[in-house]
């Protein structure tokens, strides 16, 4: 859906003289940016339902309680329908909120409070529900946690839904008929899901937070969005420009401003167009030879940009962040959740996770590594894992458990011998047996190694028989092959990643890997170097893994190569 909505941002390119303010009195309002980009179009203010609830006495309390119960059941049905709709349109994460709403509506505190108000005051159900909503949302609004304060809106939303059912109210809301900039106080999830998203160019809200549902939706759709903008009500129907990157909205822009933004938008459009064009194309040469083009990522949050850029998988997921961001060893559970999230979000696409690659140059206090004279050649990565096996086993258990949720590959860094691979396999087998005994489900992930030491290159034929894949880490491989410290500025002029020795090492690794039966990829910086793309393809590389932002330029390079020539 991101793609479709993304195009919509640029659809209304019909701004012409007719949109210009007659008086030329443009108004610029500053807000907080939720998502960048430019949108130009008509402003449409979202009209909230008129939720004036009258308080009226009722004679038949039991009948009123019955009315409430019927409305509650009806509201539950609506929520179930919205959940299904959201699942199809925006995915599970966005849909989950409706499950939560359904649970709120089943909550006995809420139900009893409504019933008590009706009974004790012989009052109408609408009023009782509205007051209960106020009471309960106030409880959340007063909590000292931003997430919980955000839930106040959910409680109100649920209660308003029941009130609407009781009132038999019709539809209001977003009335635009052309793609427009949507201004609102704040939007409840049930409101955003009902929007015709092809008509929304941008979201601008008075309230809400960067973690509100509207903000999340804007990011999913990839359209500019702002919060904390106190817009005037008379902006409705006027021309507007949203600059999501600068966090501002311009109402009634004059012609000079429009010209500036017109150019900005055109540039974005061009970039986006190239992206759209290449996004869903295969990574294939002119003569039909295709390779896998994956992404390097360093955290769960990077998955969005992987998908946005049309990457085919994750070729290197550095697990270090889990260790660097915490004050103690990350638990199996914490790791499992992070890995599972990435696997689920990648929905069956390949995800290769590299086990702990930490050493004296990336210190974490609780590991007590101490200072080393020569950290690049020191106690690091797989050397730590094979010595302190409890750390390694925890990570492997988390990985195997997560493997059940997608297409996982596990990759081991800093390998220098076949014996290390044997040790790894033994430990992996032990962990699998523990999981089998505990009845925990997992899939059999592909296993591979980083080829980043000259030793691994020289042994690549033997190593290729042991594993499913190689991934060549060109940064370290260059450093170790040329014996050049890559941090040393004085050596920069001779630190040449195109050095023939490095390229020959890569070629050897690819050939030997294939002989042994392993597929071979490149995940170092060199993989994204488009001046070498053809060279790598001719060497027979099977995969390139690059940072998400480089995906399309590398795909473009591959698609221009003709190996038959």
């Amino acid at each position: 859906m991101g793609a479709k909505a993304g195009i919509a941002v640029f659809a209304p390119v019909h701004w012409t003289g007719i949109f210009l303010s007659e008086k030329g009195e443009e108004m610029e309002l500053q807000g907080k940016s939720v998502f960048g980009g430019v949108a130009i179009g008509r402003i449409s203010i979202y009209k909230k339902k008129d939720n004036v609830v009258k308080r009226t006495k009722v004679d038949d309390v039991d009948a009123e309680l019955e009315r409430f119960e019927k409305a509650r059941v009806k509201a539950q049905e609506q929520l179930a329908g919205l959940h299904d709709k959201a699942m199809k349109e925006v995915g599970e994460a966005e849909a989950a909120v409706f499950e939560v709403h359904q649970m709120f509506l089943d909550d006995l505190d809420l139900i009893e409070q409504v019933q008590n108000i009706v009974k004790n005051e012989s009052i109408n159900a609408e009023y009782a529900v509205a007051r209960t909503g106020d009471n309960m949302s106030e409880m959340f609004a007063n909590m000292d946690d931003e997430y919980m304060r955000g839930r106040a809106a959910d409680v109100l939303d649920v209660c308003n839904r029941v009130v609407s059912v009781l009132q038999g109210a019709g539809d209001t809301g977003f009335t635009a008929t052309e793609p427009s900039i949507l201004l609102a106080d704040d939007l409840a999830p049930s409101e955003t899901v009902q929007l015709d998203k092809s008509l929304v160019l941008s979201f601008v809200t008075r309230h809400g937070s960067t973690s509100s549902h509207t903000a999340i939706l804007a990011r999913t759709m990839g359209i500019p969005a702002l919060i904390s903008v106190d817009y005037p009500e008379d902006a409705d129907g006027k021309m507007g420009i949203v600059d999501g990157t600068e966090g501002k909205i311009i109402i009634d822009p004059d012609s000079a401003t429009i010209e500036v933004y017109k150019k900005k938008l055109e540039k974005e459009l061009e970039k986006k167009k190239m992206l759209q064009e290449l996004k869903d194309k295969p990574t294939e040469t002119i003569d039909g030879h295709s390779i896998h083009l994956y992404s390097n990522i360093g955290g769960v949050g990077d998955v969005a940009s992987v998908l946005e850029n049309g990457s085919e998988g994750v070729g290197l997921f550095r697990s270090e962040f889990l260790y660097l961001e915490s004050s103690d060893f990350p638990s199996e559970e914490t790791q499992f959740k992070a890995y599972r999230t990435v696997l689920e979000n990648m929905a069956g696409k390949k995800v290769i996770i590299r086990t702990l690659d930490i050493g004296a140059d990336k210190q974490v206090d609780y590991l007590n590594l101490g200072d080393e004279e020569n950290p690049a050649l020191g106690y690091r990565a797989i050397r730590i894992c094979l010595t302190q096996q409890d750390i390694f086993k925890t990570q492997l258990r988390a990985l195997l458990r997560a493997s059940y949720y997608g297409n996982l590959g596990i990759m081991f860094p800093m390998i220098i011998s076949v014996d290390e691979v044997h040790q790894i396999k033994d430990i992996l087998a032990e962990v699998k047996k523990e999981l089998d005994d505990a009845g925990v489900q997992y899939k059999d992930p592909e296993i591979g190694i980083m080829v980043e030491t000259p030793a691994a290159v020289l042994l690549s034929e033997e190593l290729g028989k042991e594993v499913d894949f190689f991934s060549i880490g060109t940064n370290d491989l260059t450093q170790y092959t040329l014996a050049i410290d890559r941090q040393n500025a004085k050596l920069e002029n001779i630190n040449d990643p195109h050095h023939p020795a490095v390229l020959r090492a890569i070629q050897m690794t690819i050939e030997n890997g294939h002989k042994g039966g392993a597929w071979v990829g490149i995940c170092g910086e060199l993989g994204a170097d488009t001046t070498l793309t053809e060279t790598f393809l001719r060497m027979g590389v099977d995969e390139l893994s690059v940072s998400p932002g480089r995906t399309l330029s590398v795909r473009d390079a591959v698609r221009k190569v003709d190996l038959s020539k």
Binding site: M103, D107, D109, D145
Partner: protein, 85 residues
Amino acid sequence: MKEFNYTITDPEGIHARPAGLFVKQAAGFPCAVTIIKDGKEADAKRILGVMGLGVKQGQEITIRTDGDQEAEAAEALEKFFKENL
């Protein structure tokens, strides 16, 4: 009566989804289930009350089960917390 303590490790604390799952589990047992944080108690079968405690990462809670199947309930809920929170 059975009781156990648990310290929340989930960075988001007891947020809406796990709260919902927890409440569903608790509601599956006939015994009374109470969740206690800093002396404040809530009926674990009611989601708004549970969320109202605002339990965050690193905070300790006590779960008390009392009545029919209290042992099974305590066991199942402890397992739930370890796996989900």
